[in-house]
């Protein structure tokens, strides 16, 4: 495996042997170590000292299913801390097959220069000027790049929001159909890419060869058992293929944990109009696609292709979090409008979660009425136009709150919460508050552990046990994200054999022993590295706090506030507890 180092100031590209000190690392673990080693923690996230790291997971490019997850790491302009933004599509598998463990993008290009980093079928990397494509939205950009380089590529790129260095800017990645609809949305890493002058990364798809395995037969046996468990699981085997992530709308709304109208209510009266069940029905009736494969080597197929009444493409994939941020948070029950907003965000290159919540805060501050879909669409368009309000919206909910002097802003470390209100599921309060990533549901999802009907043993309104649950979930995700494994394929880890199979595959790839204690050590190492970076960056325990709205405003219908104390939060990373 090799590491490609690109310097944007002098446009030099160097290929290095993969450093021994990073042996056994991939994905989030690798981006965390490189950012921690190479980036001065107190630097300007948009300045020349920051680095942008693309790393496929440790198991990407192997025969294991659902391993085409790419980790993109840098210091975040949104949170001020370290960031790993995780995305699917095909690019992680493409990079791994070409023997590339990481691409490290250093320094910033001079002036307004824009470049494409091209990785050819032989794995050779070249930096090519592309200033003619400056300002281009992602769908048009990908079409142009397809014409230039051929369609058989995996692309990661930014839209106008990234070029404008806005803090909600995403990096959009192409899916199996070649559309730039998979987003490394969180943490504003599109702005880092924009600051560096890198418009796109174009990687030859399906070239090279599968990643070398020390013990192929042991790997394949474990991979087969893992895949069987994923397929047999009710959620990853049936529910996600049928309804996608949107299956969560109805149950989370039913328990009163679906933040609505800028998180002033826990239930949306029109949830049934935007539910997974309705979404699947509408898509099927119009000839779109449910059970769509968005990412390479996926066997879950949670993606979908949303089409309009004429059957024409609108967006892919319409996800639970976006349905929430552009739906319930805005009191918008119009699925077509939500799909349109999703497309616009992908095309302009902004995080749908942060952007929907930014609009919700603006509406709450009185800028536009809740439910005004036309206003929401205009506001997103303003981000692309670069108007004064557009820039504020594109910098996320905290920027909007400051602009309107509005206090109800559901963010931690500047990043918006996701579609689980922490007042109705207290465990999510711990994850949102303490994750080194800022508020992020994927950093440690403890919803199931908070609801007894899912086998959870915790009282969702009590603080008891929540810190331990969040710690364990955050540790597990630090490991999973390092492997390039899809969150939804964690069903393969359940049961007595699940984690053993995962360890067997890691050992069979490296040729070194790898057992459960090594897994734990890996997870702890990754999280500790991230936490230490954040401390060096100036973040303190005071940043591991939820905004006052969650502590003082009771959320109907459960009428609870977050009751986890600061002292409890501060024990989250007592790893030996």
């Amino acid at each position: 495996m090799k590491l490609i180092r690109v310097n944007m100031r002098n446009q030099s590209v160097a290929v290095e042997k993969f450093p021994e000190k990073y042996d056994g690392l991939g994905g989030r673990g690798l981006t965390a170590m490189i950012v921690s080693d190479d980036v001065p923690a107190d630097c300007d996230a948009l300045g020349d000292k920051n680095r942008l790291v693309f790393a496929p997971g440790y198991l990407s490019g192997t025969p294991l299913i659902n391993t085409s997850r790419l980790s993109i790491g840098a210091k975040s302009p949104l949170t001020g801390g370290i960031k790993e933004s995780n995305v699917g599509g095909t690019i992680a598998a493409s990079l791994a097959r070409l023997g590339i463990a990481a691409i490290v993008v250093e320094d910033n290009a001079p002036g307004e220069d824009r470049y494409v980093l091209r990785i050819g079928p032989d794995g050779a990397a070249t930096l090519e000027s592309t200033s003619a494509l400056a300002g281009c939205r992602t769908y048009a950009l990908v079409e142009q790049l397809d014409q230039q380089y051929g369609a058989k590529n995996s692309i990661a790129c930014i839209g106008p929001a990234g070029e404008a260095k806005l803090s909600s800017a995403s990096i959009q990645v192409t899916d199996t159909d070649g559309r730039p609809c998979r987003a490394a949305g969180r943490g504003g890493l599109g702005a880092v890419m924009g600051a560096k002058g890198l418009k796109a990364l174009v990687v030859a798809k399906g070239e090279g060869q599968p990643v070398q395995l020390a013990d192929p037969s042991a790997f394949k046996a474990a991979a087969k058992a893992f895949a069987k468990a994923v397929k047999a699981d009710e959620t990853s085997g049936k529910l996600f293929p049928e309804l996608g992530t949107a299956n969560l709308v109805e149950p989370i709304n039913a328990v009163g944990a679906f933040p609505t109208r800028n998180a002033t209510q826990g239930q949306f009266a029109h949830a049934d109009k935007i539910s997974g069940e309705t979404l699947a029905r509408v898509i099927k009736a119009r000839g779109g696609q449910t059970t769509h494969k968005g990412c390479a080597q996926c066997i879950i197929n949670c993606s979908n292709v949303y089409v309009d009444e004429m059957g024409s493409y609108v967006t892919s994939s319409l996800e639970y979090e976006t349905i929430w941020s552009m739906g319930a948070m805005l009191e918008n029950a119009d699925l077509d409008a939500i799909a349109r907003l999703d497309f616009l965000c992908d095309d302009i290159g902004v995080d749908t979660i942060n952007t929907g919540v930014a609009i919700a805060v603006a509406m709450d501050a009185g800028y536009a009425p809740f439910g005004d879909v036309g206003a929401a669409i205009r506001m997103v368009e303003e981000i692309a136009e670069g108007t004064e309000l557009g820039k504020i919206l594109g910098n996320g909910p905290a920027a909007v709150g400051r602009h309107f002097n509005h206090k109800r802003v559901p963010v931690v470390k500047g990043q918006s919460i996701s579609a689980y209100d922490p007042r109705a599921i207290q465990g999510m309060a711990v994850t949102y508050a303490t994750s080194p990533m800022g508020a992020d549901h994927t950093a440690g999802w403890v919803v199931d552990r908070n609801l007894s009907v899912f086998g959870g043993k915790l009282d969702r309104f009590s603080s008891e046990g929540q810190v331990d649950a969040s710690r364990e979930a955050q540790l597990e995700m630090a490991g999973v994200d390092s492997l390039g494994l899809c969150d939804f394929a964690r069903s393969g880890m359940a049961g007595a054999e699940g984690l053993d199979n995962l360890c067997r595959m890691i050992a069979a790839k490296s040729g070194n022993s790898f057992v459960e204690t090594d897994w734990r050590a890996l997870c702890v190492r990754v999280l500790k590295t991230e936490l230490a970076f954040n401390r060096r960056a100036g973040l303190t325990e005071k940043d591991d706090r939820l905004p006052e709205m969650f502590l003082k405003e009771k959320l109907p219908p459960c009428n609870q506030v977050v009751n986890i104390t600061e002292a409890e939060l501060d024990t989250t990373f007592d790893f030996d507890a």
Binding site: D233, E250, P251, V255, G276, V453, F454
Partner: protein, 80 residues
Amino acid sequence: MPNLIVRLFGTLPQAVGRYNADTGITVIVPEGTTVADLIQILGLDARQVGMIFLNGILVDSDRELEDGAELKLFQPIAGG
């Protein structure tokens, strides 16, 4: 005898068949029927059912059904 509307979510409608997504299904059950009994009557495996809401309130499967109620059955969820 209690007459109530049952709404199914996730992949449960397929397991029951002849389910109308717009209206749910109307069932009439003997007095004293519990949610668990109804789950069996519908031909569902209890393990397929996660959250149970009776008139919007989260209940256990031993709850008796009431006339005019709306029962929502969800399948277990996981993910994030």
